[in-house]
Point group: C2
Chain length 391, copies 2
């Protein structure tokens, strides 16, 4: 699956979802960052809606379930309510957040960040995608590709947000439990590091003349690999991207750019790992007489979800007699940003071998159905009752 | 300078040189790998010609002198002989060897390898360039772009070969000597290593599930950097290329491909470094439960040039009262392959700060002129005298 944010593939998926919504008579709208909303009205228009959903964009070599599962499960809930003729007091809205993955345009979660007003939409316009496309241009093209979805002011009031998502880890599968109730999310930081040296002949350049940015990057990352992971089993350190220029077998590189993704459930430990990364990179660059440029691309603190929403999901499982367990998410999700403006939580379903961000990502039909049932029951409780108070 | 082998830029340079040759009434021809020859006849057609020249292709971000200097200095020699109306007993031929750099199509020195029949021209046809182009197609297009140069059988008999080239190192400049007489070349091996793991989520994948090929590559290369260079000051180990897939900040890579260029003047030491590289890469791949594929892309043993030709150059410098020193080349050159079928040697001129394979590569006009004068005097000696015997 390659349906990266704001790409033609992403636009086609939005178009299809909008057609399905129109077919059921639901109203649709977008906002300034192309978050897509599908609304089924409630009996009391004065109450803010219950929001459910996830995202439609994928990694360049992603799976079929990461994001799409939660978005389509939410739409299924809307259809189930419609099919059953249920009248809810609150409207129920399905959302597909823009650019959750951040693989094409960094940072990730742009849609939910902008929705809760922590994102800099103006500043994002000139961001270039990995293939050179400009964010602002791709955003405009995506908005224009869906003229039937009127553009509303961003960040409208909601009463709660619940997101169904694949676990992207092996915990549920190993425990043989179909539902995970997510109580929080570990923190994530993305750093982009650029070392600039000097291209020179691989065979003739004297040792003291070599300014090799790749050698420096390798030294720094090797030290970090030894120091951070698995030294701390809760820590994650991943170099997902590395580009080398001019990229010739017999030329000492002139420039190397690489990313480091670090994660930890404890904010202070996460900060100390970030400090270690920066220190090792600067030290190695200095040893090799290189320029070092370090930029923070993404920074999401560990977060805790709303206890009241967690209880509603727990009760939904109880009423449906579905086994569940509480866990903390290793991945960040839009729900963590949305939880800043409304009570929110997440529902995880198991994925085979815990594999995600990979074409072999898989979720069984039974688990998909179970997740949708829990989401339906949760949405019913939230939409019929009074506004949920944050614990 | 970006004039990579068989590119449109390379064809334009060949075209220009052919026009200059036609303008002076010299005959031109090509062979099956598009080596380009410009001939000024001698008085005795039965004697094989003296060959002088270098190459016209460059690195993707190369300088203006690497290769082009030796080719144009050789053409300047032909023009000087013509201007002076000198009659040589042997014909003097200028050559521009195809794909010396090997940056677009690996291996390098294809032209001189094929000329001395150590290359596998048929096997090269399907080699893909870094941008995907097929060698065979680009070769045919390059040959067809120069219809005025008839195609002759490859590997015609020659009496000697002399190549002027920039030193690509700082030795001459530091010593303040304008001419280096090259007595030999250090050996070079190129390895291409591919580690294949499994793409997975950077944040949620348990440690025991991670199969990270980039982490494995970094571990192996870091060990090699400590063990090989600068431990042995004569050794060179360079990773010039590294590509990471799928290249997403929050995805553990599925595949990493990198090249290692190793050099040493002693054949047995070079072999032991190669063995060390292979061992470290296999060990690290095994530690990370990865597939490892290692391919040898280029293998040039250290070589020694012809003592008689070295003496001719020495005498040329003496007769012109030009300071010179003997040295061993850190870079491989076409002359090393040609020396397998005819006595050969090289003339080095200083380049600023020893910088090459870089846009800031520079050679002073004075040094260029000195190099051309020595080449002219050397060519005169070789073309007028009897066949040079190999020492």
């Amino acid at each position: 699956m390659n349906r990266q944010a704001l790409s033609t593939e992403d636009r086609a998926a939005r178009k299809r979802l909008a057609e399905l919504a129109a077919g059921r008579g639901f109203s649709i709208h977008q906002d300034a960052v192309a978050n897509l909303f599908i609304r089924r009205d409630g009996s009391n228009p004065s109450l803010p809606p219950v929001l459910i959903g996830s995202h439609l964009d994928s990694q360049p070599t992603g799976g079929r379930f990461d994001g799409a599962l939660g978005t389509l499960s939410a739409f299924e809930v809307l259809e189930a309510l419609e099919d059953a003729g249920v009248i809810t007091e609150r409207a129920v809205e399905v959302v597909s957040w823009t650019n959750e993955e951040g693989s094409r345009f960094s940072p990730g979660c742009m849609g939910s960040m902008a929705f809760v007003d922590v994102g800099d939409i103006a500043g994002w316009q000139d961001i270039r995608g990995v293939e050179g496309a400009r964010f602002g241009d791709e955003l405009a093209a995506t908005l224009n590709a869906l003229p039937e979805a009127r553009v509303q002011p961003i960040g409208h009031s909601i009463s709660a947000f619940v997101e169904v998502h694949i676990e992207q880890g092996p915990v549920l599968e190993r425990a043989g439990v179909p539902i995970g109730i997510v109580t929080g999310v570990q923190g994530t930081k993305w750093l982009e590091i650029t070392f600039t040296g000097e291209a020179a002949h691989a065979g003739t350049t004297p040792l003291e003349f070599r300014k090799d940015p790749l050698a420096a990057a390798i030294t720094a990352i090797a030290r970090l690999q030894q120091a951070v992971m698995p030294a701390d089993p809760l820590a994650r350190l991943t170099v997902g991207r590395m580009t080398v220029e001019p990229s010739s077998v017999n030329v000492i590189p002139s420039k190397v750019t690489f990313t480091i993704d670090i994660r930890h459930p404890e904010e202070d430990v996460l900060a100390s790992i970030e400090a270690r990364v920066i220190a090792e990179c600067r030290a190695s660059a200095e040893d090799h007489a290189l320029d070092a440029h370090i930029e923070k691309r993404f920074d999401m603190a560990p977060g805790t979800f709303d206890a009241a929403i967690v209880d509603v999901i727990e009760n939904a499982c109880e009423s449906l007699d579905i086994p569940r367990m509480k866990l903390v998410s290793g991945a960040f999700h839009d729900a963590l940003f949305v939880s800043r403006v409304a009570p929110a939580a997440m529902i995880f379903v198991p994925c085979r071998d815990g594999i995600s961000h990979n074409e072999s990502e898989f979720v069984s039909s039974e688990n998909i159905e179970t997740g949708a049932k829990v989401l339906l029951q949760t949405a019913l409780s939230l939409a019929q009752g009074a506004a949920v108070k944050s614990a």
